[in-house]
């Protein structure tokens, strides 16, 4: 017996129509048997085969052509190029509606779906009970689908698609919808179906499900086959590619600020009384120089974060109405003092961000680490002023380190 499904160099184009005249033209072209003048290729050059019992997952970013490929396999649309052979009954659960007529009641839609699949009335009667029980949406089954919640539509769609025991079950992100108990029920059904030799063809963004349910995977990237093979391998490569891309994106954002950006050109942190650590109760001064490409007064945002990035405090020159000093063309200097710090001992970083004159967009970030000296058993980042009014004696300072007890008054 041949494969359940075989695709060879299949591609699908969509006509691109902009103006109203374009539609008349398109109709004319179609009638003459020509392809549309301007097309958008949803996917192309896809070849795969699906053997009984060997489920396949299709992965890729949004807009990669996954759903269109499923539609072609389900027979909803004809491919523009290539050959496609299906040897079996295809149950398609495409997106939410699953091909329901919104004006029909749930029961009427069951009849319709069964007729679409070519079931005889006797077969339909047999399975109706089963479908209604699986969907489990109570009296709603007699109401038009358009009054259903999206969850109910999915339940019914899943119930219909599954009760007809297809050779290939096509699903498009369906497991992501529905409530917890229904998801459990559908996954249980899916496992039974797969154990019984069923074949699944599904689109998912969940690599966990891809690896759990499928033997093979196809990675589509902008309508082309990027990788096709063992599901574990493809899923791993896909995740790695995503991570690499996210990192690259983060790097390029940092590396080259555009010429039109407001940039921090200098950042100096001066601790009172010199030294490398700041004693509690003391402070420091920050001098920042910002380049303004259009020579308007930029805004500076300054903040303090913990070593792990947790924000402690931040403000901007716009909030405090502090104008910078113009040093020369496009050069502005800010100076800000932090006195009498109530930060607890530990490692911190000072952050300075250059912003546009409106204080809306944040362009550049510079950091300078600093250390608050000492040790303490107190919790958190900041010492809030406090007292114990009913204590009989003046409490001994809780801090083990005498130096840490400074900011009492």
């Amino acid at each position: 017996m041949g494969p359940l499904l075989a695709l060879e160099n299949v591609g699908k184009d969509y006509a691109r129509v902009d103006a109203r005249g374009g539609r008349v033209r398109l109709v004319w072209d179609l009638l003459r048997g020509r392809s549309a003048a301007s097309v958008f290729t949803a996917f192309d050059g896809v070849s795969l085969r699906l053997e009984r019992g060997q489920s396949l997952a299709i992965i890729g970013e949004n807009g990669a052509g996954k759903s269109t490929l499923l539609k072609v396999i389900a027979g909803v649309i004809k491919p523009t190029r290539g050959t496609l052979v299906v040897n079996g009954r295809v149950g398609a659960l495409l997106e939410l509606g699953s091909g329901f007529h919104p004006d029909y009641s749930g029961l009427a839609n069951i009849e319709l779906a069964a007729a679409l699949l070519g079931l005889t009335p006797a077969e339909i009667a047999d399975r109706r009970e089963q479908i209604v029980a699986f969907a489990d949406i109570g009296e709603h089954i007699r109401e038009p689908i358009k009054h259903y919640s999206s969850g109910m539509v999915v339940r019914l769609g899943f119930a219909v698609a599954t009760a007809l025991t297809p050779d290939i079950l096509i699903t498009d992100e369906v497991l992501a919808v529905g409530d917890e108990s229904f998801q459990k029920k559908s996954i249980a059904w899916m496992e039974k179906y797969l154990a019984g030799g069923g074949t699944l063809l599904f689109v998912s963004h969940s690599m966990y499900h891809v690896q759990k349910l499928c033997r093979h995977a196809l990675w589509l990237e902008r309508g082309r086959m990027r990788l096709y093979g063992d599901a574990d391998h493809v899923a791993r490569e896909y995740v790695a590619w995503h991570e690499a891309r996210a990192e690259a994106a983060a790097n390029t954002a940092k590396a080259a600020p555009p010429a039109s950006a407001y940039v921090v050109t200098g950042l100096a942190l001066t601790i009172d009384g010199g030294g490398s650590e700041i004693d509690p109760g003391h402070g420091f001064r920050v001098d920042v120089e910002v380049r303004s490409p259009d020579d308007r007064e930029p805004v500076l945002a300054v903040g303090v974060v913990r070593a792990d990035g947790t924000p402690v405090y931040g403000t901007t020159s716009e909030i405090d109405r502090a104008a910078p000093v113009r040093l020369g063309p496009m050069r502005y200097a800010f100076s800000i003092r932090f006195d009498d710090l109530s930060l607890l001992p530990g490692h911190y970083r000072l952050r300075a961000h250059a912003m546009d004159p409106e204080g809306m967009r944040l362009f550049d970030t510079h950091e300078a680490p600093f250390v608050i000296a000492g040790t303490t058993r107190e919790l958190g980042y900041v010492r809030l002023p406090h007292a114990w009014p009913h204590a009989e004696t003046t409490p001994k300072t809780t801090a083990a380190e005498p130096r840490a007890a400074a900011p009492e008054r």
Binding site: A6, V27, L31, V76, K78, H101
Partner: protein
């Protein structure tokens, strides 16, 4: 339709033969399925259109009856028209009005029928023309039932209705339905791409109705323009209906053969256009 069943549906090796749609499922199964689908769509049409509304099936009769009443008032009370060849104005008009309204409604409903099945067309594979067939067939079936009912009532009131004329009238209705189906397929396919079609169709049909000898006899038309009015194919069918039902003429002539050819040509042409355009529906509905 009568393609031979494939002998070897499963290709022995990959890549397989270059056919789409695939050879499976067999032709017979597809035919059974399409018949079941048509029945489903047809019953749904009848149900939602008439049985779902409060007055039920009566609407199919009330609309033409109301029109008939208006025409009767305008033409016999106001204009005092004559020349209806022995039968009363009511009978004369009723014989032609029902088939016209059936054709008109079938065209209008058929043209927009695909839109209400958009959800289905976008997600399920089936022959889209079944939707148009069901819409047109439901309209003709209901109006034909109304037609027979009205003829019976007219006969009971002593009007000279020749019921043996139904032997000709029924085939005429069938011809009209075949031609109407072809036109509906054509307009329905165009409507998917060009939304103006339905809006153009309505005034066009109204103009066509008054250019057809439905509420007036052909003899009332001035000699100079009479050949043009007579050339209207629908006018020809109306004439056949009147001759059969009001005068009891049952003979066939060459004109009937031409009408048959025209009706089939319209159907085949409309279906050809529809099938050319239907693979692209999914993207435009």
């Amino acid at each position: 339709m009568a393609a031979p069943a494939p002998t070897a549906p499963v290709p022995p090796s990959f890549p397989p033969v270059a056919t789409f749609p695939p050879a499976q499922p067999p032709v017979e199964a597809v035919r059974v399925r399409n018949r079941a689908l048509f029945r489903n769509f047809f019953l749904r049409e009848v149900n939602t259109r008439y049985l779902g509304s409060m007055t039920g099936l009566a609407w199919a009769l009330l609309h033409p009856l109301a029109l008939l009443g208006v025409y009767w008032f305008v033409f016999t009370m106001v204009f005092r028209a004559g020349g209806f060849g022995g039968s009363s104005f009511l009978t004369f008009v009723a014989v032609a009005l029902w088939p016209w309204l059936a054709a008109q409604e079938a065209l209008q409903r058929g043209t927009v029928s695909l839109a209400s099945y958009a959800a289905l067309i976008r997600k399920v594979a089936f022959p889209h023309e079944l939707v148009v067939y069901a819409s047109v067939a439901a309209t003709f079936a209901l109006h034909f039932a109304g037609y027979v009912a009205v003829l019976v009532v007219l006969a009971l009131f002593g009007q000279p209705v020749h019921f043996e004329g139904l032997l000709v009238a029924l085939p005429v209705w069938v011809l009209l339905a075949i031609a109407g189906t072809g036109l509906a397929l054509f307009f329905a396919a165009l409507q998917v791409f060009i939304r103006d079609v339905e809006h153009v169709l309505m005034p066009l049909l109204m103009i066509l109705m008054y250019l057809t000898p439905i509420v007036y006899p052909l003899t009332a038309v001035p000699e100079a323009v009479r050949p043009y009015v007579a050339a209207n194919p629908f006018g020809y069918l109306v004439g056949r209906l009147r001759a059969a039902l009001l005068d009891g003429q049952l003979s066939l002539d060459a004109g009937d053969a031409v009408a048959l050819v025209v009706a089939i040509a319209l159907f085949v042409g409309g279906r050809w256009v529809f099938r050319r355009l239907s693979p692209t529906f999914e993207d435009f509905l």
